[in-house]
Symmetry: C2
């Protein structure tokens, strides 16, 4: 029996909305939004979409009208009562009331600010301007919308059974990964795949499959909506946008050199325990660690997000040793370019030497490689970054020069201020 009301209701939708909730976003965006809300609420920022895979002609694949309809839908969203209750009442990292009442009131009243969209050749220029706490919450939904519209474009002409088999193959592929991961003793792994997911429903499926397939080895998801619905941990700490914006606001080279540490001073005002995770690579890990204040070595751990991950982890272990810290009590989170083989390899190398965990992203929630003709669903490198703050350009260097962002002159200045030497260029897979 068909439920007539459901059928009629479903056909009333003008679009099939991709993002249906303001908490269909990464947990760390909310943590950072609160931090920014407290420390830099009036900073004006511009975020911009950047397609690092310029061979993917997004504007040819995705209809501008459909993209606008999806973005407009996101602007109509507000925090629901249940979502607010969950954010206010849930325990995050063992702590109740992680989000302050003043922040929650602000968030409950938030509507995402306007966007600027323009087609330039085969790419879209998509930017968001406004106060930092509001604009920053565009990042994840904007990426998710573009990724899923691209998915829909590729799938558009496929038959019903062809589609079913496509998902059958993707499920099989993911499950084979789960079966391999299940055999790794002591593995701890979270889903970090919101921003470059194939689709919302696919990410949700992946999380549920890992819950059943990995049991305690699966520690949670960065996606708040899925964490709430599936009753798993919401996972995440902080990202490059904090040091990038703080640095752009610096009024001198000395202030610039201190900016990444100022971020962490502000951060530890609010947080402790597993939220004290250093992200050292914004302007090069080597310089960051060698100039770091002593108190930073007491933080809980480090996240390795660019460059060769084993090298980064070895540097962290050496740095802790030099500061009289026992690395075996420290956490190392790997979150860049992971897939099963890399996870196994890093786990073998570092398990027992430190507390290891993995934030598995694109190749968890968007590994449709080789599943359609011309490999048209291969994941690609799309980011949405703060490009300016109070009118000044931001810069990111990272441990991989291919990931550097910002005007050339500023990149040169930052390389000088942060003492960045020779870096190994690595291909950006995702």
């Amino acid at each position: 029996m068909t439920d007539l009301a459901t059928r009629v209701y479903n056909h009333k939708w003008k679009i099939d909305p991709i993002v249906r909730s303001l908490i269909d976003t990464d947990f760390y965006k909310l943590l950072m939004a609160q931090s920014v809300f407290l420390n830099k609420p009036d900073t004006r920022v511009t975020f911009s979409l950047i397609n690092r895979s310029s061979h993917i002609p997004l504007a040819k694949l995705i209809d501008e009208g459909e993209l606008r309809a999806q973005l407009d839908h996101i602007r109509s969203l507000s925090l629901s009562r249940g979502e607010s209750t969950w954010l206010r009442g849930n325990t995050f990292y063992g702590k109740r009331a992680m989000f302050r009442s003043d922040f929650m009131e602000w968030f409950e009243n938030l509507r995402l600010p306007p966007y600027h969209l323009e087609r330039i050749g085969d790419q879209y220029e998509l930017t968001f301007e406004g106060d930092w706490p509001s604009v920053m919450l565009w990042e994840i939904p904007a990426l998710a919308v573009l990724m899923e519209l691209r998915t829909r474009a590729v799938l558009h002409d496929m038959g019903k059974f062809e589609l079913q088999v496509l998902y059958a193959r993707a499920m099989t592929k993911l499950w084979e990964k789960v079966e391999q991961l299940r055999d790794i003793d002591g593995l701890l792994l979270a889903d970090f795949g919101t921003r470059r997911r194939h689709s919302f429903l696919w990410q949700d499926w992946c999380v549920q499959a890992m819950m059943e397939g990995l049991g305690d080895k699966f520690v949670g998801t960065s996606n708040c909506l899925i964490a709430m619905r599936r009753e798993v941990e919401a996972i995440g700490t902080n990202a490059h946008e904090l040091p990038m914006v703080y640095s752009a606001l610096a009024n001198s080279d000395a202030e610039l050199a201190d900016a990444p540490y100022q971020v962490l001073r502000d951060w530890q005002e609010e947080h402790d325990g597993n939220l004290l995770i250093i992200l050292p690579d914004t302007y090069g890990t080597d310089g960051f660690l060698s100039n770091a204040p002593d108190w930073l070595s007491e933080w809980t751990g480090i996240r390795i997000d660019s460059g060769d991950p084993a090298t980064g982890a070895e540097k962290a272990i050496q740095w802790w040793n030099e500061h009289g810290q026992d690395p075996r009590n420290k956490r190392i989170i790997f979150s860049d370019g992971l897939d099963v083989d890399k996870i196994r390899e890093l786990h073998q190398q570092f398990h027992g030497r430190a507390r290891i965990s993995f934030g598995w992203g694109t190749l968890l929630t968007n590994d449709f490689r080789n599943l359609v003709p011309n490999d048209a669903l291969t994941p690609f490198s799309l980011v949405c970054k703060a490009i300016s703050a109070d009118g000044r350009p931001t810069v990111k260097l990272s441990d991989n020069p291919n990931k550097a962002l910002g005007p050339d002159a500023e990149i040169d200045r930052y390389r000088r201020v942060f003492n960045v030497g020779q870096q190994e260029a690595m291909e950006i897979i995702v």
Copy 2:
């Protein structure tokens, strides 16, 4: 929204019935039932389940109570009005009113006769006795029930996502076969997989996948219910049970030697065109062809169902040539132990030399090999055969001695009467 009525209704079922329609059976059973209804309506037969794969302990896997409940449910079925309308009104093999009114009236009033079920060690003895036209219609539902209860037993302890991935893998596997078959020019292929299917829903999925994936290369299904619902051709002609029972009824060696031909004399009273398909192997193809009356060479084609299929087809081609018939106008249907490689190989060897088609059975609708631990879903060889007629044992020899059925003394007599020489024993895969 959940449809409350549907949900409550679904939970009222005492069992999940496997066979829900009297036309969830092979089309040729109905053609044969009509023939028997006209020619031998009062013959008393016994059909018996025979598990040729004795290493599969059916009685350990399948609960006797569940089996009885399924068989009892089948006994409660009668032809529905829509099913009757379809059988009366549909065009089969280009012919309207294939089923006579007197047969349809009989079928509309049919309830399947009682069964006898007993556990003997780890196997079930399951037999059906009564008038031939009624009892013969037990064959397919009995097999389908046992196959699907075995499936359910193996799947019983699997988790939700494990199950979903199992079906994802099976779908992927089937679709890869479809993709390979799609590339074979001039292929014609039908589903013959009802009797040993994984489950009804899976067979239904396979048929729909082939409709989308193979287009005109997929010519239909032997399953009447699926043919009706999916609006494809119902496919089939006749089977060994006709010569087996006719032979058992013979009163002398001379009558016995003629019995297989008498079957075909009766058959061509009713049918023509594509339904005039010889099944030559019941008592050995060599003897059958060399003793065949001339008029038989004018029949439309032949079905190769045991022994080495290429050898059987070469024999048929040679026989047609010897009788002044052009094999290129004749049809050869392969229906034994097929999978993609064998289909491709036979197609390459015979395409253009005769009209070739394939009745693909077990490895279409039940290829779950290597998809669960211990290969516990590997298909096995279960049959349900006429073992006696009017109190006399039946015999089948076929072109593979491993498929021979009947008492030893009778097998020896049949081998003598039908001049069966040396036969090559072949492993029965399915």
